[in-house]
Symmetry: C2
Subunit: 336 residues, 2 copies
């Protein structure tokens, strides 16, 4: 009579608990109007049968899934990768699963196809980690009725965005160096088309100007240690350079190495501050003073914005800015 080990459905639970399936549903959804005793009986039946609600059935009738789609660049960079895992963690805590769609480049068509795949899955919401302006165009591809949050995106896009306060972070780094007594601070930046880079450049420049310090020429690179090394080789040759702010820790590593090769000691001859606080930053030689971004906070903020949109709440906040903070180690000292 009974099917061989079909996974139990709500009615099975109901039968065992001696109630109707609707009551089981109410217990599952924490409806108030269920007698405590019944609730306990139902819970017991659920446990006994090892019942799991069928998400597909639920999604079918409610019209929304428990899936959040993430669009991210196919990248092994520390920032994006951390972002993804932190978001997954936060979403899991809220009962959502995360479906990733990676893309090689953040251009319009790639994003469009990934977004399409996500919509196909009927995701409840979308998170786009969009560090460059070209990703903005992809906005048009996303229908208005799907909740969307951007991380690291263009604050001026009109869509909800969560960002780290790059300017504040860069400002803190720069100020830290100035306060140590350096007359000015050089900057090795990331790719200028990244919002992150732009913000850090802006924060650095503004802090120098406010302090009345001269603004040296900008050295811009990609995010790699290799380019940091290249920039470092230039800097090492110039005796007037005593303080460097690198846009990420890998760049800083490259600079560190170049300085070392030229016999310029850190921090005695040159002070340096990085950005990111990658796990190994504390093991650089010397341990690197750097700026930590609270990826976890960003992830949670993004999630809460997304959940807010799902509940069609009036968007209280459309742009959340998470402050980074300086992690002081041993790579900064007063000038000689």
């Amino acid at each position: 009579m009974d099917k061989v080990s079909r996974s139990p459905a709500m009615t099975d639970v109901a039968r065992l608990a001696g109630v109707s399936h609707q009551t089981v549903s109410r217990v599952l959804n924490d409806h108030p109007n269920v007698k405590e005793q019944t609730r306990i009986r139902v819970r017991a039946a659920i446990a006994e049968l090892g019942y799991r609600p069928n998400r597909a059935a639920r999604a079918l009738v409610t019209g929304r899934s428990q899936l959040i789609g993430v669009v991210a660049r196919n990248s092994t960079l520390y920032g994006p990768a951390s972002m993804l895992t932190e978001f997954e963690q936060a979403a899991a805590d809220a009962g959502f699963a995360v479906s990733v769609g990676s893309v090689r480049e953040l251009d319009r068509s790639s994003i469009a196809s990934v977004v399409d795949r996500h919509l196909d899955q009927r995701v409840a919401g979308l998170v786009v980690i969009a560090q460059v302006a070209t990703a903005n165009e992809a906005l048009a591809e996303i229908p208005g009725d799907v909740p969307v949050v951007f991380i690291d995106g263009d604050p001026g896009s009109g869509r909800p965005v969560v960002t780290v306060d790059q300017e504040a972070g860069a400002g803190a780094a720069t100020r830290h160096l100035l306060e140590a007594g350096h007359s000015t601070v050089w900057h090795v930046s990331g790719p200028v088309d990244w919002f992150d880079s732009a913000g850090r450049i802006q924060g650095w420049r503004q802090t120098l100007q406010e302090a009345g310090a001269e603004v040296p020429p900008l050295l811009s690179a990609d995010w790699s240690a290799a380019e940091g090394y290249r920039a470092g080789q230039m800097l090492a040759r110039m005796p007037e350079v005593t303080a460097v702010f690198a846009a990420n820790d890998h760049l800083a590593l490259g600079v560190l190495r170049a300085l070392h090769e030229r016999g310029r000691r850190v921090p005695q001859d040159v002070s340096i501050v990085g950005f990111d606080d990658v796990p190994e930053a504390a093991f650089f030689i010397p341990p690197l003073t750097t700026v930590r971004q609270a990826f976890g906070d960003v992830a949670r903020a993004a999630l809460s914005l997304l959940l807010g949109q799902m509940r069609t709440e009036p968007d209280t906040a459309r742009h959340i800015v998470v402050p980074p903070h300086l992690v002081v180690r041993d790579s900064v000292a007063p000038p000689a």
Copy 2:
């Protein structure tokens, strides 16, 4: 009469095309018994309405989702991160979405909870990226009726596993150094509890033994440049060291730096080979000879094993081994 912009369902398409919903379903699933003319009409209706099949409804009736769950360690290491994006790509091509569940440590309870979340989502299959033996215990947590494939897992576990042939890769690296004329090769390994590390150690040792070369003591580290540097400082002090095989490129980077600081030139004084071929390896100084793992092939193999299990095919292959290959650059030369 008509609801405001409810997303169209199969019956809407059917009505527009002048057929029954069942015919639409047949067109969607490429059933043979549909007249070409009808098929075209239906396709046109689908396009006109911008219809997307409701996955939830489909999943409900067929009992299987189009979701594959991936369990991976919360890591920003190059290998695991690459693996994930490559797998996502492959799965997308096959019409599957990928839900990630990351975990801080590969211990029993963490894995169990992530697996549980995935089962909750009724994933069609699971991929576990399990580089360490402790992950094995989590096997017990996974019910037998859900398809599972391990990547980098224990070949002896009895479950389908896809691995890179670490021994072959390590052998190639070691042989390359021996063939350049070095009398033996030192090895800086990764954590010994990783299967990957164990395989590389084994390949290195065996190749040396077969060549009748002496096997120097093993230097084991984690995967970081910091520990590579530490190992490098030891190696740099020993003039008899002329060839080093590092278990990954970051370790190699650390070794490189240590050697450089001690004035030992690469490759003139010491030759070195890495593993992974991270994007920046070609920009190391000197450009690093290394071993590239075909993550894409691994991902595709894992997917096909998984799809095979879903079709309940007799498991033709339970263990697929993907060969890596040596990428020769400038960090190896004959001994002085």
